[in-house]
Symmetry: C2
Subunit: 205 residues, 2 copies
DNA sequence: AGTATAAAAACGAACATCCGTTCTTGACAG
DNA sequence: CTGTCAAGAACGGATGTTCGTTTTTATACT
């Protein structure tokens, strides 16, 4: 029985997903046809349908990949041991990573499409919420650590502050994909807006 | 010669656009069919096609409307005479307006779809860029006024700061439409992150 | 006022096209 | 041989748009 190696199967899957991502970047989820994916991947309809039960599952796989990579860009600095990282540093790391992910694979562009699609697909919405939902507690933990260092008042609203921080990421993504904003410029601006410990007491706004 | 009043024509157009917006909110641009729009508007195919040459033009009209309303939410405070409004106040006004636009007509949800769609439609991308492009100079002007009041250093990077400020708006929109974030919470968080004149010198981060 | 009329507006069934999926067929490894 | 994998033509269904027909309505004329 000619069963193919597990490694080969994974490679095939990746081949399909890579092709699909390129198609989605060019035409969006709905306007890319299965034929497009067949062509871009160099595989036949029968072959692709062996690895994915349908178009929606390909979209879900791509979406999960993109959202996971973006939230993943936030985690390292948040969870670093020792003194908590300054907010600016955390966002800087995330934004820099996002820029690289955009240049290399267009991940932020996929993300914007996922946001839109999740507004009408409960399936995708659940996927997205599951992944994004894991970020909020993480960021809240970071805010708490800042508070415990007395960098923030004891009664700081933890969740609200975390939400505002998280918002800085889509704030960059949207401007990046719509107007080509680069990370350096955005971060330069954030340095003005966000107070840093070094500049406590300095006049800002 | 029986031509109908201009007023009637405008009402008809609005009737189509209102129906289309509801459909788009429920199903997205691509998954709503013309039949859906016919049904929701209570008009026939022929009638709708008398007012719009095709589906794409309806999408463009809805998109332009949504983006215009959102950028419009930013302008009043930015252009107010007298002393420049604090950054927090400007963003607060915009975010509060956005929440209302969401409850009333789902405008932010439409906006997210427009962002995604503009990634693959040069037509729409041009529309969006034209409208959004008008916001950056406005916000830059606000930053300059802050600088001229010596609320910011003389060498403040104007464009970068404006970009960071602008990012706070999509930062709210995305979290609003994906996780139901409310304006009050977001603004409470922003008050922690953004230094305000009253709190200059207070420990923050 | 009442009516005729012609052009605009609306209707809605039909059309051509296209897309996701299936299924039969063949190739090839064990 | 035999069972897995791949190929790709074919299918059923749905979609955006058109177009011939019907209805409405503003105006001209009696």
């Amino acid at each position: 029985m000619p069963k193919v190696s597990e490694q080969h199967r994974a490679a095939r899957r990746a081949q399909i997903l890579d092709a699909a991502r390129v198609c989605f970047l060019r035409n969006g989820f709905h306007a890319t046809t299965m034929q497009d994916v067949f062509g871009a991947s160099g595989m036949s309809a029968g072959a692709v349908y062996r690895y994915f039960p349908g178009k929606e599952e390909i979209v879900r796989a791509i979406a999960g990949e993109a959202i996971t990579e973006i939230t993943g860009a936030l985690q390292p600095l948040v969870e670093a041991p020792g003194a908590p990282a300054p907010f600016y540093e955390v966002i800087a790391a995330a934004v820099t990573a996002l820029e690289r992910l955009d240049v290399e694979r267009g991940i932020p562009r996929i993300a914007v499409q996922v946001w839109a699609e999740s507004l009408r697909s409960p399936r995708l919405a659940a996927d997205v919420e599951a992944i994004i939902g894991s970020v909020a507690p993480l960021m809240m933990r970071l805010v708490e650590r800042h508070r415990d260092q007395a960098w923030l008042p004891a009664d700081v609203p933890v969740e609200a502050t975390a939400r505002a921080l998280i918002g800085l990421v889509p704030g960059f993504i949207v401007q990046r994909v719509l107007t080509g904003l680069d990370a350096a410029t955005y971060l330069e601006g954030l340095r003005v807006l966000l107070p840093s410990r070094d500049r406590v007491g300095a006049a800002a706004q």
